[in-house]
């Protein structure tokens, strides 16, 4: 068992490491790469250690008032998010080396990129609502320069949108937290939430504060109607879109929802309330909305962003079923979707990098030009559709079984939405595959004529992800069981 003091060290190591980059002012790419890899790998190793041998206690870093402090701890739910981040970050950093090669202002880029790692871990390991809120806000601020990195007009517009949505969301969430706190709710996360304590809150307060937090944190999880920042944010460099807008930022939103739902409110006070039904309705709507928008969109990265939007609501749907099976299924999809979607984005980035093309309609014949890249893309597409033998099938399976076990109108509606979305997923991804492999006769591929598979910094992560998707199909149950044992305490 590791000492709890390692938790802030794991969180602040990449933060400090990131801040140091512009101060050191690396001139040579090689030395910056070695330094960055060392920081990121050390953080991942440390995080893995924390997950394998979790500290028993929480640690308070800053005491704001007698009752409010910034504190961290490692528990089952945080571990799920932590393991995802710790696995993906080193690979995404490797990918970013090649993607960003030749770009300007790399020191600034990698500084923010690495700081984000620490902040995401801070969210995963936060021990109370204030810490969670604080780190979500910091994440917004630090990722903003990453979106505007290219300094184009579109990037600034996206940046402003990003800021407006998240500040509005933060305000709502903050009001929700205050409302919850002043009426007697505890700030510390306790498995089971209110049910574990003695405080009695009126249903109106519970409903109002829950919905405020849901849509507040839900802005990060891109729940309709606070979803529009996500497709716009695709103007950022691909490593940002792939890691932050498919995994770290958006899943922080999902994670926050799971966290306050199960560890602040608890299932009993929410079960069957109008608040649960409203939240579920919005999640179900977002599932279908995202899938249909992805189908209509022809910009490669924006299409994937809409697909993310849809999939995030799969997770929220699972979580809001308020059953053990639903929570496990939602979290399982959070893990699996993280891997699938980062893969898809990496392919989109590799294609843009090699060919200069950004629209799916231009990719005719690219299956021949970039055979390995598109082989991985095909696998990831099938996985996201939910076809066996890839991991996407298993998380969808768990979600469906959770919905059926729950029963009732909303569960069936959600299941129907997921199946409809699966069909749209097939359409919006497989058309790309078909176009890439079967361009039609007498058709010269667009883009740079020398476009081929990317270098090994991009290929290695893609290969590992493809392998992971198959392995996680076979070993989905141990993963699900691990999640289940981690969150077992939340059902009282």
């Amino acid at each position: 068992m590791m000492s709890e003091h390692w938790i802030p060290i794991a969180i602040f190591l990449p933060v400090v490491g990131g801040i140091l980059i512009p101060l050191i002012g690396f001139c040579r790419a090689r030395s910056r790469e070695i330094y960055l890899m060392a920081v990121v790998l050390a953080t991942s190793v440390l995080t893995t250690g924390l997950l394998v041998a979790p500290p028993a206690d929480s640690v308070s870093v800053v005491r704001i008032t007698n009752t409010i402090d910034v504190a961290f701890y490692v528990d089952g739910l945080g571990s799920v998010f932590g393991v995802l981040v710790a696995f993906l970050w080193p690979l995404a950093t490797l990918y970013a080396f090649e993607y960003m090669a030749g770009e300007r202002r790399q020191n600034a880029f990698f500084a923010y990129y690495t700081i984000t790692y620490g902040l995401t871990l801070g969210i995963a390991f936060s021990a109370n609502l204030i810490t969670l809120y604080l780190f979500c806000e910091l994440l917004t601020l630090v990722t903003l320069p990453l979106i505007t990195h290219t300094r184009t007009k579109a990037a600034y517009v996206a940046g402003v949108k990003y800021l407006v949505y998240f500040v509005a969301g933060a305000t709502a969430a903050f009001v929700g937290i205050i409302l919850f706190y002043v009426n007697g709710g505890g700030l510390d996360f306790v498995p089971g939430g209110l049910a574990a304590g003695t405080a009695v809150l009126s249903p109106q307060v519970i409903g109002a504060s829950f919905l405020l937090m849901f849509f507040g944190f839900g802005a990060k999880a891109a729940v309709f109607p606070v979803q529009d920042w996500l497709p716009s944010a695709g103007v950022a460099p691909t490593p940002v879109t792939a890691l932050l807008h498919a995994v770290a930022v958006v899943k922080s939103g999902v994670f926050a929802i799971a966290r306050f739902t199960y560890y602040s409110f608890g299932t009993a006070p929410l079960e069957g309330t109008p608040a649960q039904k409203i939240a579920l309705s919005f999640a179900i709507f977002t599932i279908t909305y995202g899938a249909i928008m992805a189908w209509k969109e022809v910009h490669f990265k924006r299409r994937l962003a809409y697909s993310t939007l849809s999939n995030l609501s799969y997770m929220i749907f699972g979580i809001l079923l308020l059953t053990p099976a639903g929570l496990v299924a939602g979290l399982l999809h959070m893990l699996f979707h993280g891997i699938m979607k980062i893969t898809l984005f990496f392919v989109a980035g590799a294609v843009a990098c090699q060919s200069g093309l950004h629209y799916v309609t231009d990719l005719r014949g690219y299956g021949r030009r970039m055979p390995r890249t598109f082989a991985v893309f095909t696998a990831a597409s099938l996985s996201l559709m939910g076809v066996a033998p890839f991991c996407g099938f298993m998380s969808k399976w768990y979600l469906a079984q959770a919905a059926l076990a729950h029963g009732g109108r909303y569960a069936y509606l959600g299941l129907a939405a997921i199946l409809v979305a699966a069909v749209f997923t097939a359409i919006y991804l497989l058309t790309i595959v078909i176009r890439a492999y079967f361009p039609g006769k007498s058709c010269e591929p667009a883009g740079r004529p020398d476009a081929g598979d990317p270098g090994r910094y991009m290929q290695i992560p893609l290969g590992i992800f493809a392998l992971a998707m198959v392995l996680l199909f076979v070993f989905a149950m141990p993963v699900a069981e691990w999640i289940r044992s981690g969150v077992a305490g939340t059902f009282l």
Binding site: L382, W397, Q401, L419, I427, T431, F438, G440
Partner: protein
């Protein structure tokens, strides 16, 4: 008598990828293997007409692998896995020519199939939640305790699941991909697509109805009546469309739509006679439709003629091919002693014995009407082929009979059509044995 399945993968406690050889699976496997071999040998010669041979044969064999897996599937999970994979691996066969028409047809095929498979997946979700076991059991696995109070939902899901797998078998309203996709594929691929892969949809429906939801749950419900109505509609519609179609391979594809619904109709009546008849028609239709598509392939190979009206006088140039075409046409119309008569006879008997008014008399009537239409869309080709009349235009001196290997494959199927017609009774007896296990 159930043997323990061979478990390849345990995904969860109840979710496994497992295989077992049972009678319907083996029967389907024999059919798959035979047809794949014949069409494969045919393709060895036909490939002169194809570019990218390697790719064609790679996907041809991969599709076979998936069909073998499908035959041996011991539970719904495995069935779904291989069904989806079969779709994905057979798409490149449709795409093979790479023309704009092929690409749009392949997309249609892919998306209809995936939509159908998604409905099948819905059925799987429910069966897993409401069944006693995930394995296929003759008579079904529904847990009476769990479904009580939820009968209506389960019925709707059963209906949708069968309609979903029906997409593969060209069942209305998910049939539109079939006349688009089958003709654009190279002829050997059209033959197995129409003759065998569509039957995979039928096979899945048999598994879903007889081994998962169970006859007892479905018999006499609105679900059964809805299925029968849809099948009857598809039979009539397919035949009419085939009758109106002028392009030979598309006409054959519409004919497949119609004939597959004969088979589904048999399985929807939920009695032994119709069941055995439908099983027999699976076999017969595979042989006949493979033969028809390969004959069309011979014609294309030699003449590059696609339109039915251009085939006048072809009998003088390609007598053997057209003779075989005649045998298949007679069989498909249902004229004894060729394969095709006995199965339709049993189907009609099964309908009449079902006592399900008004379908018990409506079905045989529609079968007869459709048989007339079948004769109407196949016989003129034969008649004009052999007796072009004085103003014949197909005087192409250089056109001869197809290469020996290709002709041999067609002749083999014609011989099979005759022999299976003559000895249909012993095959039928075997199918009655299978029927006994599920009722």
């Amino acid at each position: 008598m159930q043997e323990t399945p061979f478990v390849l993968l345990s995904l969860t406690d109840t979710l496994t990828v497992a295989f077992r050889a049972d009678a319907p699976g083996l029967a389907f496997l024999v059919l798959v293997a035979a047809m794949w071999t014949v069409a494969g040998i045919y393709a060895l010669r036909y490939k002169d007409h194809l570019e990218n041979n390697g790719r064609f044969f790679a996907f041809y064999l991969l599709t076979l692998v998936m069909l073998v897996g499908l035959s041996f599937a011991a539970n719904y999970m495995t069935l779904y896995l291989f069904f989806e994979m079969m779709t994905l691996f057979s798409v490149p066969l449709v795409l093979h020519d790479g023309t704009a028409e092929a690409v749009s047809a392949a997309k249609k095929y892919l998306f209809y199939s995936i939509f159908g498979a998604t409905l099948g997946l819905l059925g799987f979700f429910f069966i897993h939640a409401y069944g006693t076991t995930g394995d296929f059991m003759p008579g079904g696995v529904l847990d009476a305790g769990k479904i009580s109070g939820n009968e209506e939902v389960v019925s709707v899901v059963a209906f949708l699941a069968v309609m979903g797998f029906g997409a593969k078998a060209g069942l209305f309203p998910l049939h539109a991909w079939l006349p688009a996709a089958h003709p654009v594929a190279p002829s050997p691929a059209s033959a197995v697509l129409s003759g065998v892969i569509t039957k995979a949809g039928v096979f899945c429906i048999v598994r879903v109805i007889y081994y998962q939801f169970g006859v007892g749950f479905l018999r006499g419900t609105w679900v059964q009546e809805a299925w029968i109505s849809v099948a009857l509609l598809t039979i009539l519609m397919g035949s009419l469309m085939a009758f109106r179609e002028k392009r030979l391979k598309t006409r054959l594809a519409y004919s497949t739509v119609s004939q597959l619904s004969y088979i589904l109709l048999g399985f929807f009546f939920l009695n032994e006679i119709a069941f055995a008849g439908a099983m027999l028609h699976v076999l017969y239709h595979s042989v006949l439709k493979d033969g028809l598509f390969l004959s069309a392939g011979n014609i294309l190979y030699r003449t590059r003629l696609e339109q039915v009206d251009d085939l006048k006088g072809l009998g003088r140039r390609m007598p053997w091919t057209l003779a075989c075409f005649t045998v298949f046409s007679l069989g498909l119309t249902g004229i004894p002693p060729f394969a095709g008569f006995l199965s339709k006879w049993e189907l009609a008997q099964g309908a009449l014995h079902s006592g399900l008014l008004p379908y018990s008399w409506l079905a045989p009537a529609i079968l007869l009407v459709s048989a007339v239409l079948t004769a109407g869309y196949l016989f003129p080709i034969v008649v004009h082929g052999f007796f072009p009349g004085r103003d014949a235009c197909a005087e192409r001196g250089d056109v001869g009979e197809a290469p020996a290997v290709m002709l041999g494959a067609v002749l083999l199927l014609a011989a099979a059509a005759v022999l299976l017609g003559l000895f249909g009774n012993s095959v039928l007896a075997y199918f009655f044995e299978i029927a006994d296990t599920v009722f």
